[in-house]
Amino acid sequence: MRETLLIEQSKQGRKAYCFPPLDLPKGFQQALPPLPESIRREQPARLPEVSELDVVRHFTRLSTMAHGVDNGMYPLGSCTMKYNPKLSEHIAKMDAFTKIHPLQDVSTTQGSLSIMFNLLEDLSSITGMKWGTLQPCAGAHGEYTGLKMVKSYYEKRGETGRTKILIPSSAHGTNPASAMVNGFAVVSIGSNEKGQVDLEDLEAKLDDSVAAVMMTNPNTLGIFEQNILLISKMVHAHGALMYYDGANMNAILGMATPGEMGFDVVHLNLHKTFATPHGGGGPGSGPVMVNNTLRPFLPKPDILLTDSGYVLDWDGEDSIGKVSMFWGNFLVLLRAYVYILRMGSEGLRSASAHAVLNANYVAKRLCDVCEIPYGEQCMHEFVISLEEYRQNNGVRAQDIAKALIDKGYHPPTMYFPSLVSEALMIEPTESESLETLDAFILAFRSILAQAKEDPEYVKGAPYTTPVGRLDEVKAIKEPNLRY
């Protein structure tokens, strides 16, 4: 099955949509001058001219060439592809939320403001932090915001020499990139044999040029940093701050908080941990939570509860200012709020417990056929190395991943973190049942077996998709990025 571009289906004069006729007085319409020629556009843009049914069929067919959590297991490590509740989708379509303008008088938006206010309170409890902002639109945007606050904090203190961010080498790419866009230099910290932060290396690199240490805990190997309290103490002792990347928060909900671990600033990914849909890449939401120290630097406006209801507070001279156009991705916040209401305190804790249970179960069931470099005991995800398959059979991690597609599974995250060679990072999430996990394990093992018996077959996968593996070099050498 293939679907042509809609523009290729275009036919002059065909229409999928009509507007009501303009019903202003004739005289006015005739008298109304056009835009001055100097600023007037004359050339049309090439957009499809098709029927409504063409539009419907086009996107319906495209949807059949996509795979989401609703279609099958999606064990994409570090992305937490859990089930996105239908209730949240229903609520996010309510007119009372979709048809509210962000600049209406706050007396008319108390509903939306109360959801934001209460969501922030819940996220505070969950992270063990005191304050926060919902403005950032994604995880990386949260990092940007959090580090910007760190920057402002030191500027305010006059400690302008704090120009470095220490980041474990296994960190997500957004961490160093976010540090960079905020004008920090990035210094990498090594890992020890347990896959955790190398304390000696950390100690060696900690000095008064360090602004913050940015960590994910559990880290990207799915391993909990057991020395975290010690690390926080070391970092704070050097006057630096602790930044928590919430990408892996789904491992510890209700079990532990970044606040108790000593972190000063935390970003969350509502589209991971709080079950809002990923939408094919977004919109997400990346709230940032902080303790008292950083509160003055939070973006504007803050939401306050006053005697006359919720208000937007624009005061706060130390605020870093706005980080997005309005108040954040409200409809994503709404979905996350619905999820938290559903789960409640015990439900969130249970979600993490079962996410960890699932990961450990799969790891255990795979550990005899592939290497798990840092041991199979993990938190909510784990990383395997297929190096032996590469060396013995010429089959790479990518080949195994592609073969999973033919079995109906979305592949795990490939080649990350880079300290594991031929890595696949598997995160089942708590949404998957024992039966689904067993079926996945069976499929995975059968592919590994086939990789030994018939490596060429595996290297040619996938076979069941509309296209096979694509020529990525050609995509760059002969770029075709638009019709």
Partner: protein
């Protein structure tokens, strides 16, 4: 112990724990020391059933009050075809991740490719990315691009007529990074480009302007690109993309970067988000474009297929050498815009823009007749215009009286700028969606108050 969205039965847990070699769920967290493990549950409420949540939300929803919105300032109430919600809700779109695995994501990739193409068409640019967070962040990404594209340049010129929030986001962007903004002041409600040459020096990476600008006024950029390019500075224009059905596009002004937000193309008001930032550039800047890019290529059998491409630019590969940290974008909102534009076509887009223009001018023309409020600047505008009131008491009464008729009369500029001098300025937005009856209702109420 049954919690929503968790499929495990007691039996399952037993089997699984046994397989792992543990005897309790607690042991799964044995890696967490006691001083980290919470002794108590976190202080949020207990779980609720679907029915309870729906009731609670229904009651919260009643505290949102709807009116006939003549509100704009970056978020507009345009007509959206029914296809947009229906098709963008298809579960394979909604519950997918970024299409890293091209073979099982052709549909999603193709939709993004179509989005990129449409943005290029509308802006008359060469290449567009798969979306950015919103219009304001598109501006800061443009600033980053500029600074990254010119050696030793750290200053970005910005028009004082940018949307106040865009300007604030840019100020945040510059904060603490050694980069800075240099404001190009306005004259008669539009950017005063006669100041450009004097402000422009070798430290300047480029200029960002906006049209329609913060007042709703349209700006002209004749000759601006040439002045900037002579200094190797880049030119970025931010537009409401729907206005580009009527006014010259960034490409036609010879800009290097086109930015904006597609909220006006198929996205609901939604209290301001999600919307969908976009950026399109000239071909020469392709490798400096932030965000994701989808390209068309072939598989081993020569079958055409779409894939994420030029990923080497991105943070997950380039890490601290990346020029942007963006990872998640607004893909589903971009899909909504793609469906919207597919439904409207160019004729529909032009019609929406033209009708907005006509209706805004109809309302403006009649309001301008009333005492106590003026359209100060004689500049072309599109669907939004600034009314300046003679005193703030009158303005407040005006807004209240219209509110009593169910009308949200406009946005006070001071709401955005928090500046006293802007308190008398009311920005009124009129889209094609406002019916003649609504316009007359507005006018009748206005006449009553302002007589």
């Amino acid at each position: 112990m049954i919690y929503p969205y968790i499929p495990h039965t007691d039996e399952d847990r037993k089997i699984m724990l046994e397989a792992i070699g543990l005897s309790s769920m607690e042991e799964l967290f044995s890696g967490l020391s006691e001083d980290i493990l919470l002794s108590d549950s976190v202080p949020i409420s207990h779980g609720r059933t679907e029915d309870e949540v729906q009731r609670m939300i229904d009651s919260i929803a009643q505290r949102n009050v709807r009116g006939i919105p003549f509100l704009g300032c970056g978020c507009y109430d345009h007509i959206i075809p029914s296809t947009v919600e229906a098709l963008s809700s298809l579960p394979s779109f909604v519950t997918a991740y970024t299409p890293y695995q091209a073979e099982m994501s052709q549909g999603l990739l193709q939709a993004i490719y179509e989005f990129q193409s449409m943005i290029c068409e509308i802006t008359s640019m060469d290449v567009a990315n798969a979306s950015l967070y919103d219009g304001a962040n598109a501006a800061s990404e443009a600033a980053s691009l500029m600074v990254g594209a010119k050696r030793h340049a750290s200053v970005v010129l910005v028009s004082s007529t940018l949307h106040p929030f865009t300007l604030q986001v840019l100020q945040t962007w510059a904060k603490g990074t050694g980069k800075s903004l240099r404001i190009v002041k306005e004259k008669d409600g539009v950017v005063d480009l006669s100041l450009l040459s004097s402000l422009l020096d070798s430290t300047c990476a480029g200029l960002i302007v906006q049209s329609p600008n913060r007042y709703g006024l349209l700006e002209s950029y004749e000759g601006v690109a040439e002045i900037l390019h002579e200094q190797k500075a880049l030119f970025a224009i931010s537009n409401d993309p729907l206005s580009l059905a009527m006014q010259k596009s960034p490409g036609q002004w010879n800009a290097d970067i086109a930015i904006g937000d597609t909220q006006s193309l198929g996205l609901p008001l939604a209290f301001g988000g999600p919307s969908c930032g976009f950026m399109a550039v000239k071909e020469a800047l392709l490798r400096k474009l932030p965000g994701r890019l989808v390209g068309l290529t072939e598989d081993g059998k020569g079958r055409k297929g779409f894939t994420l491409t030029f990923q080497a630019r991105e943070q997950h590969i380039k890490r601290e050498r990346a020029t942007s940290n963006i990872c998640s974008n607004q893909a589903l909102a971009a899909l909504m815009t793609t469906i919207h534009l597919s439904s409207l076509g160019w004729d529909g887009m032009l019609e929406a823009a033209n009708q907005s223009y006509a209706k805004a001018h109809y309302l403006a023309y009649h309001l301008a007749q009333l005492p106590g409020m003026t359209l100060v600047w004689d500049k072309p505008f599109w669907c939004e215009f600034p009314l300046v009131f003679s005193d703030s008491k009158r303005l407040r009464k005006f807004m209240q009286e219209l509110r009593n008729e169910g009308i949200f009369a406009g946005v006070r500029l001071s709401t955005l700028t928090r500046k006293v001098k802007d308190e008398l300025v009311l920005l009124v937005a009129v889209t094609e969606k406002r019916s003649r009856e609504e316009l007359e209702l507005y006018l009748a109420a206005a006449r009553r108050v302002m007589k």
